[in-house]
């Protein structure tokens, strides 16, 4: 750079330094911004555009206006998928959050092997969902370990009465570790002197938890709840793998995203799938927006 600039040229060189800084700045963010624009921002518009058309593998067939959306409203399978997804969410969220909170409170205590327990509880959250589902299929099959221990012969994942519930149990368990982590962070943000005060007042552990810890975790509760709800609305991997992509038996594991996948990739009905994507987006975006508005800045970090 022009370190030897004379007094007269200083203004000029300051300006050119600013221009240079700006160019370097744009250069450094060029590729990321390109990827985000092409694969994130533009697809929103493109999805809406496609959803107004009859659109196949070779592209646009005809313009159909809002037909795809009105078709969606009359599609029994779509409603079945939404029903399954909401049922799944209603079942998984409370269990997952309660389990995560319980584990967080336990491992936040002065216990031995604390690091071991934290790792043990967290580990299923970061193992491959496909591998975990494969293990579940093995353990839950009619001749599997679960039936051997409980003395039943229920084909848990092959019976439409228990398939979705089994996946719910599986996911509530395997994803509660992440919830535990967020609660743990929130618990450690609580100053210890409030507990000292409670101890002086002679409050027991149970009362201390409900009267002090639980209310003080309020920001954490909201954050974790919305995180859990959004994750549940997107459930796909386990339902897809368990049913071989069919959403069976008898549509019991047909979640919204599994149906979306079938429509887009198997039936190659892009227009209809795009309308479905927009509808799901509205659902998920509302939940995400609530999260952002409530916790705009990173509460956790």
């Amino acid at each position: 750079m022009a370190v030897e600039a004379t007094t007269g040229g200083r203004l000029e060189s300051a300006r050119s330094a600013r221009v240079k800084e700006a160019f370097v700045g744009y250069g450094f963010v060029l590729v990321p911004m390109g990827v985000f624009l092409v694969f994130f921002i533009f697809p929103i518009l493109y999805a809406v555009y496609i959803s107004f058309h009859d659109w196949g593998v070779l592209g646009k067939v005809s313009t159909v206006g809002l037909d795809n959306y009105s078709l969606l409203l009359e599609d029994d399978l779509f409603w079945r998928a939404i029903k399954n997804t909401l049922y799944y969410t209603a079942g998984v969220v409370p269990v997952q959050v309660a389990l995560g909170l319980f584990m967080a409170v336990i491992v936040n205590n002065a216990i031995r092997f604390r690091t071991f327990f934290r790792a043990a509880f967290y580990f299923p959250s970061l193992a491959s969902s496909a591998a975990i589902t494969a293990i579940a299929i093995y353990i839950l099959n009619a001749d599997g370990l679960v039936n051997a221990v409980t003395g039943s012969n229920q084909p848990w994942l092959g019976d439409s009465d228990t398939a979705l519930e089994s996946i719910m149990g599986l996911n509530a368990w395997t994803t509660s570790g992440t919830i535990m982590l967020f609660y743990l962070a929130a618990l450690q943000a609580i100053p210890t002197d409030v507990y000292e005060a409670a101890a002086i007042d002679g409050a027991g552990a149970w009362r201390t938890f409900w009267k002090i810890t639980f209310p003080l975790l309020k920001p954490g509760h909201f954050f974790v709840l919305v995180l859990s709800i959004i994750g549940s609305l997107k459930v796909f991997d386990q339902a897809f793998i368990v049913s071989g992509g069919s959403g069976g038996p008898n549509y019991s594991t047909l979640t919204a995203v599994v149906y979306l996948y079938q429509t887009a990739i198997q039936d190659v009905d892009f227009g209809y799938a795009a309308a479905m994507g927009v509808a799901l987006f509205a659902l998920i975006f509302t939940a995400t927006l609530i999260q952002r508005l409530l916790f705009g800045k990173a509460e956790i970090s």
Partner: protein, 289 residues
């Protein structure tokens, strides 16, 4: 934040009455019980992967009679899991590397360089975090089809080249580094790239570690996009290969468990070694929905 490792010093409960001691014992029993329940499926899958098919369906011995690696050999060769493992490793390493470079460069620019529209562009980065994959499925798939990128590694790498949460994480980290170091480099006449390379990167170790671990783990485990884009058996990743195997040979338990163990072990090892970076990264990525 090293939540998993050690944090606030344990607050010991002072008095030890017999009731309290009994309660402690019960709590530990409960804890070990839960930990045991968490481990048993993994343990069972490892055990089964070392058994023969006949033994795997016969009884419920916790340990195999004659442990053998036959199921691993079969899975890797006859069922092509060697290929899937190589694909997973290649994609995870490539994408992680791309993210390290692009997120640190971009993060540095957003944290330190002044250019018109910087804040608006950064809002755009945050906005991408809110766009769910379900909305992107059709348009992204259509674009990749148009460009002949379906069933290619390039198609998948392209859409994962830079993840917004990584760029965000790097920017936040660079913002916490005092400016003194750069001022010194500037006086020495270092340009922006040299400052980034020689001053900022060496100071960003923990953030780079978090990006590495989270990206590798995320890509290694991802099922949705590889299933959609890598529609060619020779391009399958481990999760897609496992899903496909379940659909075709659903009772070849030892091989299926061997494949599952192969899919889980690398992440487990990384987790054991780098526990605290996982937590730091996840806490920082907590802003992501």
């Amino acid at each position: 934040m090293a939540i998993l490792e050690e944090a606030a010093p344990p607050v010991e409960i002072p008095a030890r009455t017999p009731v309290e001691r009994l309660r402690r014992i019960l709590v530990y029993l409960l804890l070990f019980g839960v930990a045991f329940l968490f481990f048993i499926p993994f343990f069972w899958s490892v055990s089964t992967s070392l058994k023969t098919l006949t033994e795997s369906v016969q009884g419920f011995d916790l340990l195999p009679d004659n442990p053998s690696l036959k199921a691993y050999r079969e899975a890797l060769t006859s069922f092509n899991f060697a290929r899937y493992t190589a694909n997973s490793a290649f994609l995870a390493v490539t994408i992680t590397f791309a993210n390290l470079v692009l997120a640190s460069l971009g993060g540095y620019a957003f944290a330190r360089l002044r250019f018109p529209g910087r804040e608006a562009l950064f809002m755009l980065v945050l906005a991408t975090l809110m766009i769910p994959d379900q909305l992107r499925l059709v348009p992204v798939f259509q674009m990749l089809t148009n460009w002949g990128l379906v069933a290619t590694y390039q198609g998948y790498i392209l859409i994962k080249l830079i993840l917004a949460e990584n760029l965000f994480l790097m920017r936040q980290y660079f913002l916490t580094i005092p400016k003194d170091f750069e001022e010194a480099a500037k006086l020495d006449g270092a340009g922006y790239f040299k400052t980034y390379r020689k001053v900022m990167l060496p100071l960003a170790g923990p953030a780079l570690a978090a990006v590495t671990i989270l990206t590798f783990q995320g890509i290694w485990n991802e099922f949705f996009w590889p299933l959609i884009i890598l529609q060619d058996e020779s391009k399958y990743t481990l999760p897609v290969g496992i899903s496909n195997f379940v659909g075709i040979y659903n009772t070849q338990w030892p091989e299926l468990m061997a494949a599952s163990v192969i899919a889980i072990v690398p992440v487990a090892l990384i987790f054991l070694v780098f526990q605290r970076y996982f937590i730091a990264g996840i806490a920082a990525a907590g802003v992501k929905g």
